[in-house]
């Protein structure tokens, strides 16, 4: 039995260790996902859509001859870029939204980078969706039809490396957007140098010590098990889409606007989703549109679902970061500069979110005390997989360089890196050292045994002849406090109290796994504590249906766990007032004289036992008492909490193999909403972090641009056998705004892990590896053994 975390303030349900509300539903296989609600048994006349995939890194379709494909029995429709309903679709972008709110075509976030066409005749990476899609009686027939197409390809020159792509004369991936492959400054991300403060060059020149380092992040795939899919069905002029998108309302808006349908004629239904991880961190994809068009044409329901190979349609953004720090001898950092070159792949999507928006947010709350600062970033098109959103977008890449240069600086100054961190980093609303950051560092150091295990890099004891051990850490500011969620707009919930005291909770959000449903139920029971009800009395509506639900709070930033609960706290007060009004009427009293305590209606100041509220409700008209609340997240700037990861590794200098022996993950949550869920996020984040650090990488054939491991045999995802010993540590030090003052942690849990492991490897073997994943080959090369 491990020690549970201690609550700062004791609460009834919030912050508890308990089973997930959907645990049994999922463990029995009863939980339904988009792929389950669209099986043939439910839709006997279902057709399957398959899209042509590009065999070339860059090419254009000159002509399509579909004669042989059309002859194949079972083929019901073939749609190409030449069909009028396709050709009339406006150019779009997979970065329509910022992933948290619903926006119209005109208000999409990256208006300058509308670089996607639905069923385009031009393809820009091997595997890109090309301009032909088939609907057939089975997936196998649709695939065979694609093989029978006669395509006249014009093969175009391509480029895979971002630094090559930036050179004059490189093949232009999107000449209609940029002639140089470099994305131009845009209104959201800002200029290339998106942050500039003080005089960085002068400060570097005057610094006692200057260090510079690079780090290269790779292209991990989100790897949701539940492939992205949709089933489209028309009923007269109304379209229903069942999908495992994680933002139902935005998907409805996207389909409505792109297909020019009234909003009320589009219905999007989402059930459970088998993992998100940033996979579809956009409200749209072309497949919703062409699937809907095929369903229209055939008059039958049509399903489109990625295969495992096709699920490699997006990745984390590989970024080459350079970081430089200037400091005084006492460790005070006087200047910092960071420059990123992001390989955004073939489409811009949200790449500027990763390259500018997220780092700027982090800088605001982490680099506030550094007087001279410059941050610049370049997003570069190449003919690779589009690369953008993944759990910890932008922050993971920044962290890999940040804690790297901090470690370099500490080494050069002969200081403990932890001291360098405490001395310099924190947000601008508090004095240094930052309380939250200090608590994270102190607890992490204690648990990993920092003092005892630190030795000069590479100078520890040698075990079993060739093995060396080391410890390292990394730290990062959180980025999911309520004030950082302002762009979401209104958060909506409704509570309906039945006469028997049970509650129907409509806190719509597509449950993708993080457990915000359980947070919602705990938050609801906590807010209705005056009724004396338990979480078991609260029924959470599991599916989101745009025809019946309020607007869903988008399952990103891991912030749903507290945003909806904050609104529920307000809704509960309104509900209380309505119950009191009814009680006053039934009891012939003035409602000001009454109160509800532990489920009993009592007269204020009286010592009588009072009446059970249910008894009062049963005397009424039995119409459930309903409250709908809608409110923006609290704007009050409360700073952010910090997080950190500590790693202990063992490196075999003979084989180059790295084993992670121990990981400590620490998150200051402000308020822990649901301890078991938060720990699950922390533990899961380490598994993903170890994968990114040591195993996961998409490999390309450089001669052709063909990706070589778009499958789970060759793309290695950690399994249980690879799991190190992990200690999840929840802290409540920082305090946010509102009733709970919580903060999302689900993304940030893996942000620090790769750099903690890399610093530990340096500590173990005395040489630095600046590129993940750290394969045995890279270790041996760094040791000069290759």
């Amino acid at each position: 039995m491990k020690a549970p975390f201690k609550q700062r303030r004791e609460r009834k349900f919030i912050g508890g260790y308990r089973p997930r509300i959907d645990g049994l539903e999922k463990a029995t296989g009863r939980a339904l996902y988009a792929d389950d609600v669209s099986v043939r048994r439910r839709f006997p006349d279902l057709l399957h859509a398959k899209i042509l995939r590009s065999p070339y890194a860059h090419a254009r379709i000159k002509d399509v001859d579909a004669t042989e494909a059309e002859k194949l029995p079972g083929v019901k429709a073939i749609l190409t870029f030449r069909d009028p309903e396709v050709a009339r679709l406006r150019p779009t972008s997979a970065g329509w939204t910022d992933g948290v709110d619903t926006v119209s075509y005109e208000r999409m976030m990256w208006k300058k980078f509308r670089d996607r066409r639905v069923l385009d005749d031009t393809v820009r990476w091997v595997g890109d969706e090309a301009g032909v899609v088939v609907a057939a009686e089975s997936e196998a027939i649709a695939e065979e039809a694609l093989r029978r197409l006669k395509i006249d390809w014009e093969v175009l020159p391509f480029v895979l490396d971002p630094l090559e792509a930036m050179k004059p004369g490189a093949p232009a991936v999107h000449p209609e957007v940029t002639a140089t492959n470099v994305l131009s400054p845009d209104p959201v991300g800002g200029e290339n140098v998106f942050l500039a403060k003080g005089d960085v060059e002068r400060a570097f020149a005057e610094a006692d010590v200057v260090v510079e380092g690079t780090s290269t992040y790779h292209n991990a795939n989100q790897g949701s098990l539940d492939h992205w899919c949709c089933t489209a069905k028309w009923d007269r002029d109304g379209l229903t889409i069942w999908s495992n998108t994680y933002e139902a309302d935005q998907t409805r808006m996207h389909v409505s606007q792109m297909l020019d349908l009234p909003i009320d004629k589009v219905r999007v239904v989402c059930h459970y989703v088998g993992g998100q991880f940033g996979r579809n961190d956009t409200g749209e994809q072309p497949f919703y549109l062409f699937t809907a068009l095929l369903a229209k044409r055939t008059g039958r329901p049509v399903k489109f679902r990625h295969t495992r190979r096709e699920a490699f349609h997006d990745s984390r953004q590989p970024a080459i970061y350079t970081g430089k720090l200037g400091a005084r001898k006492d460790g005070t950092i006087t200047a910092a500069s960071f420059k990123a070159v992001g390989n955004i792949g073939a489409y811009a999507d949200h790449s500027m979110f990763a390259l500018k928006f997220a780092p700027a947010e982090a800088a605001e709350v982490c680099f506030a005390h550094i007087p001279n600062l410059r941050m610049e970033a370049y997003g570069v098109y190449t003919n690779k997989l589009p690369a953008c959103m993944m759990r910890g977008v932008g922050n993971s890449q920044l962290n890999l360089v940040l804690a790297h240069v901090v470690d370099l600086l500490a080494e050069k100054l002969g200081m403990d890196p932890m001291e360098v961190v405490r001395k310099n980093f924190g947000h601008q609303w508090e004095t240094l050292p930052d309380k939250s950051l200090s608590a994270v560092l102190e607890e992490g150091a204690r648990r990993i045994g920092w003092q005892e295990k630190r030795h000069p890099p590479g100078a520890g004891p040698v075990l079993e002849g060739t093995k060396r051990r080391g410890v390292g850490f990394s730290f990062h500011p959180g980025w999911h406090a309520a004030w950082q969620e302002m762009r979401r707009g209104q958060i909506q919930v409704s509570l309906r109290l039945n006469p028997d005291g049970t509650v129907l909770l409509d806190a719509p959000t597509v449950e993708t796994g993080p457990g915000s449903n359980t947070c919602n139920v705990l938050g609801c029971a906590e807010a209705l504590g005056f009724l004396g009800i338990r979480p078991e009395d609260v029924h959470w509506i599991a599916s989101v249906d745009t025809e019946r639900s309020l607007k869903d709070t988008v399952q990103t930033d891991s912030a749903v766990s507290f945003l909806q609960s904050e609104v529920m706290a307000e809704a509960a007060l309104e509900l209380k007032a309505k119950i009191l009004a009814l009680a006053a009427e039934k009891m012939g009293a003035n409602e000001q004289e009454l109160d509800i305590v532990s489920g009993r209606i009592v007269r204020r100041g009286s010592s009588e036992a009072g009446t059970d509220f249910r008894k009062i409700l049963w005397q009424g008209d039995l119409v459930p008492i309903a409250v709908v609340a809608s409110r923006k997240p609290i704007a009050e700037k409360t700073g952010v909490p910090y997080l950190g990861a500590f790693a202990e590794v063992e490196v075999d200098t003979a084989t180059g193999r790295t084993d992670v022996l121990k990981l400590i993950i620490l998150n200051d949550c402000g308020t822990v909403m649901y301890a078991s869920g938060a720990e699950a996020q922390q533990l899961g984040g380490q598994v993903a972090g170890v994968g990114e650090s040591l195993y996961e990488e998409i490999v390309y054939d450089r001669a052709t641009g063909v990706p070589l491991n778009f499958n789970w045999v060759d793309y290695k995802i950690p399994t249980m056998a690879d799991m190190p010993d992990i200690e999840p540590v929840l802290l409540e030090v920082w305090r946010g705004a509102g009733e709970y003052g919580a903060c999302g942690i689900g993304e940030s849990v893996l942000t620090c892990t790769p750099r903690a492991i890399l610093n530990a490897i340096h500590h173990a073997i005395g040489v630095r590896i600046d590129e993940i994943p750290v394969t045995p080959q890279k270790v041996l090369a760094a040791l000069g053994a290759l």
């Binding site: 049994l24 993708t512 796994g513």
Partner: protein, 206 residues
């Protein structure tokens, strides 16, 4: 280690009414004959204790996977399709009591065998209960998105049938053919150890 099936053959009961019409017809035909003697052109599987008869060429092809047949024809959607090549374990079912990847098993290979899917497992099953209930501090939950969960539950039941008292190392090794992308490995391992205790095996949770 492969284990000989200890699953006792149950008398075949013929499901009717709830299956798709063509199947019900086949089943009716079968009912008139001996269940043990297969009809030409049909394939009989016992799924969760019920005989299911399929006609080759109409209900399935020889290339049809067991996963497809169970999900699409029988609507048994507890098992999930994810990698399609035996690399994730989400489609795991028990064949004569032993875990198999149903995406890598042809439906015709399962003919004459006992197939158990998650739908055939009682809600009171110790493994189901342990997965659903895991919340021991320090280990998180055993379930997050839940997509891999039925596969893990079936594999864990297979593991415990073979080794009723596994150590943590044996659980990690035994379930390493599965991927949980949410990374609930600590919670899953703990759930399996708890289930082992509850089933009467010793060893169990740390």
């Amino acid at each position: 280690m492969p284990r000989k099936s200890k699953a006792r053959p149950k008398p075949a009961r013929v499901r009717s009414g709830t299956t798709a019409r063509p199947l019900a017809r086949s089943a009716a035909r079968l009912a008139g004959r001996s269940a043990a003697r297969p009809l030409a052109g049909t394939v009989t599987l016992r799924v969760n204790g019920l005989a299911q008869v399929f006609e080759v060429g109409r209900d399935l092809e020889t290339s049809t996977t067991l996963a497809w047949l169970l999900r699409e024809r029988l609507g048994l959607t507890g098992l999930k399709m994810s990698c399609g090549e035996g690399a994730c374990g989400a489609c795991t079912v028990l064949l004569d009591g032993k875990p198999v990847f149903s995406c890598m098993t042809l439906a015709v290979e399962a003919a004459g065998h006992e197939v158990e899917t998650i739908e055939g497992v009682s809600e009171d099953d110790p493994v189901v209960q342990a997965f659903a209930g895991q919340c021991e501090p320090g280990y998180g939950t055993a379930v997050q998105c839940g997509f891999c969960t039925p596969g893990y539950v079936m594999a864990a039941r297979g593991l415990l049938a073979e080794n009723p008292r596994p150590t943590l190392e044996e659980v990690k090794e035994g379930l390493s053919g599965h991927v949980c992308r949410c990374g609930c490995y600590a919670g899953i391992a703990q759930a399996v150890l708890h289930a082992s205790e509850k089933r009467g095996g010793r060893g169990g949770a740390r």
